[in-house]
Symmetry: D2
Subunit: 321 residues, 4 copies
């Protein structure tokens, strides 16, 4: 059996797993992300060492939030880590005797869902990962869609409201300002600040400190039956669904999977996503319609997908040995 | 030399051409589109006969406005022709001794531009065809992007304004309601109706009959220096560019070509497209940027591309012989 | 007791009533609106003759859809009747021995509601009349708010969506394109055309002919419990409420009354209006809030208000005698 | 000659002036606004003492940013000063032997412009004051329009973009997020951050520190011919004009004056305001049109107007003597 290693480099944590050909994580380790970005390759190499031991892995796949170049080694830009044109794949490959492939984290997760999760039965998958932001990954005809410069599927920054809410990216009206967990939290806080009728339960959650209002907190309230929290998740689902309809107009996927932390709300969210999607899909009476699903692999999609990419895709950065 | 035939079936005219391997149209013929859609295959077969004569063509590619199924033979739905789940490829193949492949017309044009036109130097092309509506075609890694059900790249119906202008597709705020030739004409007429200051030249064009205001007419006025017509083309360019920025966020093409009738305005349009594109592209300081160009093949892109698809893509519908 | 006559000139019907000082309609008559607009004064004069008989009225108030000049006699422009700078008040006064005052129909209705209806307990009323379009009337400190040129309170054409749905007025995104009975009907038809899930009951109403879908029909379905019809009225109510919040930001009325045909939906509509209003009112925690109510006088508000204006406001056009 | 005192209480400065019946400021004094809001009445009383000396003033008018109650003494809420239901008029009146009237600062400025400035020739004025935010004041038929609760004309918080930019008021898409000096500065900074082509001159202004980009700085660049700065002022003017068209649809003023700091840009701004206003005014071919002007009194409008209100309007809070 050929094993591969998947690594997920996030703003706060670097997680790695030893992944089987069947997409199972056999072992996993993690370390905090060092604040000095130049130390990241060494941390990754150390995690790889701890995972491999006697075993020999076929390669390393790294998923990282940011723009990854066509060489699949260089991180052009990352929003949360101080990387600019950073040859990450080469740096890691220089420390380990393995081939390394770097991919955008949402692309890696999409690949994982395509191979072993919500997209296992299709060749044309769109993954929408909804966490504090929105990420995306596209699989078309069984291949990852990377675009001409490696930065395709930055769907969180698709403009859905002209002159809309300002985004950290410098633009206005980006999808993730409406359809993400951060949007949910912001809206919940607004309701409390405005003392909107019905916001009492959320206000109680805050208890005078708005920072106590979190996505999981609102989701829990909704699960406990609080009408405004249910409404807020409904609003969130509608925005996600409206954006999904735009994406389907362009990409025509067979399956759209909703992943990320927000996916935990499941039945409080998905029906609203589907309703908004169906209502806003152009010419829907005349076309087959994508299946909308909650993603299957949870937080592990990125590690599983990155590992699999290292195994199935042509290598990019070769190790020292 | 292998020749192939490209056919472009429009709402008013069916045009066909004999196309060389180099993408040159060696001969061309056309007939009006019969109002009875069941007669279309016979008209196509007749045009093919007239083109082939002694020559033997390698195959027929047909571009048609509408949703074309994954089988690349069936037209699921066409906005201007009475087709619903019409097995067009099989119908034509039954009349001629050649393989037939059917493709969405904008997809065919994109393929033509990719092979012989504005995308000749890239593997990742987005074609935006701007006529009375907006169509689109995507080439990724040298292959046509069809989506899971064959209806990808329906970019004219991408929503760019929530609760925006009603579209014939039943939705609101579709790209083609803002960035097409029809939008240009509608806006020009509004200015005249509202007696906006500066609309005198356009009003003179109408001379009491708004239907005399056309896209080419406004473009001519702009070329003659009429400030409001220049402004209207600028507005049009901005909308096209803003939509292109959304598309680039999702698709990350290396080249974006602007085709269709509106492309004739060239320098009155393209700088505004580019400026709006650059202004609205997220994180543009951190990414390579697509080249924006006027398409190279004009109205012939569809015929050239369709013919080439018949030659280079696996056949779908086989002829009778 | 001083009686006065109120006249309501609509696109299809001219209705007139003999109105008491207490705002009661003692007698009423009506005639179809002549297609030749020049015959309207004669029809009005005839209706007045039939109403007055032995009684002597104090004056005539006429409400007409359109822009009424500061002289309160001239109709500058009417959307449904062929009037341009028409001296309507003088024309009627020339035929009857009574003073005549002309007012915009929604202004007249607002005055009626202020004097005898939903605004009886306030000095600061905003009336929003929601029928096929949206009209408005403002009473401030007990006086009708006419603006500098007599055309204030054209709230149906307040832009609430930039680049939004086209309006007959030549602009886009007007309030009445979202919050009127016509919008309700348009949306219901769209749902049927798009074959949206849940639209079966409305489709049954149409029975193949979309023109059978009407506002009262959808309201009846909603009252019978059809979920999509209930939703559509909810959407309508939300738009009305969002627009009302904009208006309250500018006008700060004490009472906002919702009149017009749509008001018949009452409890299916008003709670949504109120919720949207409260959610969208800026700084609502720090200000007294307008009371939102269904208007009290129904279709008679215009006649009652116009008659009262003739009695209580300085006269403009004096009769022949 | 009856003199009156006008006071303008801002977030950083309290300015007061002795104002003649002709609207001339004969003498003026100022002090920093104390951080402890309870000390404001004493500071005002001291300024009044310094101004009056031997002279006897007819009364004191105070303009303050915030919601002023119908009693014209109580400040219900102020965005920048810690006032909640503060009886400011009574507090000041308790310290001076004069009648005191409190008014919203933009209302006071509108009154000043109406009496002695840009609205001297009309009875129906709308003042739009464009500074860091947007304020407004309405004069109708020669009287100040206060609304039912005293908080009319909060036009800066009129929603002009649904789901638009978040505002400090808790809502989205408020006018002042698009048409104010803050919006100008924010947009200029975005251009630099995004490294937009043409933003070099503004970037030089920043010289690495975005906070150095200010409204006056951009205006100066525009006056020196920098194309992007000229464009940014054009954008600002368009937003102001579009909002003005909404306001005119509701209020139908004869004159609209643009005041506040941004008015200093004059010819770089006003033509764009007018063009956008005319383009967006509904049915403009059929109605008289408001004159758009730069306000005449500059920063002194509030003091002049407040003083005049103290003289011409019924008093509210009477002094101790």
């Amino acid at each position: 059996m050929t094993l591969a290693i998947g690594v997920d480099i996030g703003g706060t944590k670097i997680a790695a797993g030893l992944v089987s050909e069947a997409g199972e994580i056999l072992d996993s380790v993690a370390e905090p992300t060092p604040s000095d970005a130049t130390k990241i390759p060494a941390v990754v190499a150390d995690l790889v060492d701890r995972l491999t031991g006697e075993e020999k892995a076929a390669g390393i796949g790294i998923g990282a939030a940011g723009f990854v170049g066509e060489d699949r080694s260089t991180v052009r830009f990352a929003p949360n880590i101080d990387w600019r044109e950073e040859p990450l794949g080469q740096q890691v490959a220089a420390l380990v005797d393995l081939t390394v492939v770097v991919e955008n984290d949402a692309n890696a997760a999409a690949w994982g869902e395509f191979r072993f999760g919500a997209g296992e039965d299709t060749d044309d998958l769109l993954l929408i990962t909804v966490g504090t932001g929105i990420g995306g990954g596209i699989v078309h005809r069984g291949r990852l869609f990377r675009g001409g410069f490696g930065v395709a599927a930055e769907i969180g920054h698709m403009r859905i409201v002209p002159d809309g809410i300002l985004c950290g990216c410098g633009q206005r009206g980006c999808y993730e300002q409406y359809g993400s967990g951060s949007a949910l939290v912001r809206d919940a806080r607004e309701r409390v600040t405005n003392r909107d009728p019905g916001s009492e339960a959320i206000a109680a959650l805050a208890d005078g400190d708005l920072s106590r209002i979190t996505g999981p907190g609102v989701t829990q309230l909704a699960q406990d039956g609080d009408p405004m929290s249910i409404d807020l998740l409904g609003d969130l689902g509608r925005w996600i669904g409206e954006g999904a309809a735009v994406l389907a107009t362009i990409l025509d996927p067979s399956v759209i999977a909703i992943g990320g932390g927000v996916a935990a709300a499941r039945d409080l969210l998905l029906p609203h996503v589907i309703e908004a999607f169906e209502t806003h899909l152009p010419a829907r009476a005349h076309r087959p319609q994508a299946a909308l699903r909650i993603a299957a692999l949870g937080n592990e999609a990125g590690i599983i997908g990155a590992a699999d990419l290292a195994r199935t895709e042509p290598t990019t950065s070769r190790g020292v040995a």
